[in-house]
Amino acid sequence: MVAFEALYRRHSSRVHAICLRLTADRLRAEEAVQDVFVRLWERLGSFRGESAFSSWLHRLAINTVLQTMRSTRRREARVMTSDDAELEDAPIRALAVEERIDLEDAIARLPQQVRTVVVLHDIEGFTHEEIALMMSVPPGTIRSQLSRARKTLSQWLER
């Protein structure tokens, strides 16, 4: 367990950054970090060394958060009939005229699906196709959501 604690100490801040940006919620991010490391403990034996350990762990963190989001969404929004419809319909709240925000705040204010796309593409560096697979939506949807996210972020940040 000492070795695993060392592993946790080494990687937890990075995993937390991913979870925090994807969830935009401190408590949910901390829960996600715990889930990620419990899963890591269970799955360490399945790491084959085919990719860098850190890349494998980051992918595990992203999958953990996306899985939780999907479960929550299924519980909370059973009326939605497809992920596409959900992506297209997600509302983006306008800022008040006097409101000024920094980049991290702006990302956190994006709707969940749009935020996920911008975090995975522009911060974590995944391709449209990789994100499409992770989120089970067509690559074209990812591209249009990314465009929407960037336009919104630009408008908010230029105030």
Partner: protein
């Protein structure tokens, strides 16, 4: 003049190749060029955000606690499965205990099994070898866990229980 769509501006900012007509428009249009630059600047800012964000408190105790809880659940499962398998094998031993089959080569010849060989048919020895392997694997796992959980009386009790059942199984097999 029709400007590039948001998606085309994004593609340009990402460095994707545009259709010739779109590329030509971009070369000639200061507004679209400014938009592409704005998007590139945003991408640059996003890409340079910190890669690490420390948690506010130390989460390790919670992570450690969650892992220990999982281990306990798994150990209970392992020892339960061991007991269930042993019970199932024992039934088989009792049912076929008088069979004429010979012991196949490679069967473990521990002192306990050697003693058994003298008093029960080979097929019972074979079944007991399988039983003891299951018990011993569960015991090894529990003992390793106990080494890191010295104050955990539940684990010690479970070890004792497993040892008692192992001994009882051996006695039962000897009398079969």
């Amino acid at each position: 003049m029709t400007h590039l769509t948001d998606e085309l501006l994004d593609r340009a900012a990402d460095g994707d190749t545009l259709a010739e007509a779109d590329a030509e428009h971009l070369r000639a249009c200061a507004d679209c060029q400014a938009n592409v630059e704005r998007l590139r600047a945003l991408r640059g800012r996003l890409a340079s955000l910190p890669q690490t964000v420390p948690t506010e408190g130390d989460l390790w105790p919670k992570v450690h606690g969650a892992i220990r809880a999982r281990r306990r659940r798994r150990l209970v499962f392992t020892s339960s499965v061991a007991l269930a398998l042993a019970a199932a094998l024992l039934i088989a031993v009792v049912r076929i205990g008088n069979g004429p089959d010979a012991v196949p080569s490679g069967v473990e010849t521990s002192a306990e099994l050697a003693e058994l060989k003298a008093v029960v048919p080979p097929v019972v020895v074979e079944a007991m070898a399988a039983n003891l392997t299951i018990y011993d694997a569960a015991l090894r796992e529990l003992e390793a866990f106990a080494a890191s959980e010295r104050d955990n009386s539940d684990v010690q009790q479970r070890i004792e229980e497993l040892r008692r059942k192992r001994a009882a199984l051996l006695r039962l097999a000897s009398n079969s």
